[in-house]
Symmetry: C2
Subunit: 89 residues, 2 copies
């Protein structure tokens, strides 16, 4: 899948991501919502709003969770949870 089918969910208002996902799904069959840490719950919100309110035909194809290792500025590492939700129409 091309990298432009990915929507990175961060700390902006959830409707920004809903709009991004809806736009992507008008141009392609699938879109992947990637999120880390606290943004994970916002990614779930975005996927649910797209499915329930804007594009009822869209299905959750896959959900993956994993752990990523981030390096702080002082060189120490921390683990952060990550999630990928794949939506397809």
């Amino acid at each position: 899948m091309a990298e432009d089918n990915v929507v990175y969910v961060g700390s902006k208002p959830v409707m920004n991501y809903v709009l991004a996902v809806t736009t992507q799904l008008n141009n392609s069959k699938e879109v992947v919502l990637k999120s880390r840490g606290q943004a994970i719950s916002r990614a779930v919100d975005a996927a649910e709003i797209v499915r329930n309110r804007f594009m009822p035909g869209v299905k959750i194809k896959n959900i993956n969770i994993s752990t990523e290792e981030l390096t702080r500025e002082d060189g120490t590492t921390m683990n952060v949870s990550a999630m990928e939700i794949t939506l397809s129409k």
Copy 2:
């Protein structure tokens, strides 16, 4: 599955839920982590910590997301995202 195989993830420190899940998995083959709203990212953290640090043989059997309708005290309703992570050994 009996209801006591469910761990509800809320706003307590994540290690509380890690301990609850680990204890459950010593008594049964499966455990379901249920969470709503902001607690969703904590549930993912708990599942990942159990898998990576305490019980490496545990697998993610299924992840489900959904929307639940809550009623406020004044009678109005709000939607909240929910997630269920099923872990099995």
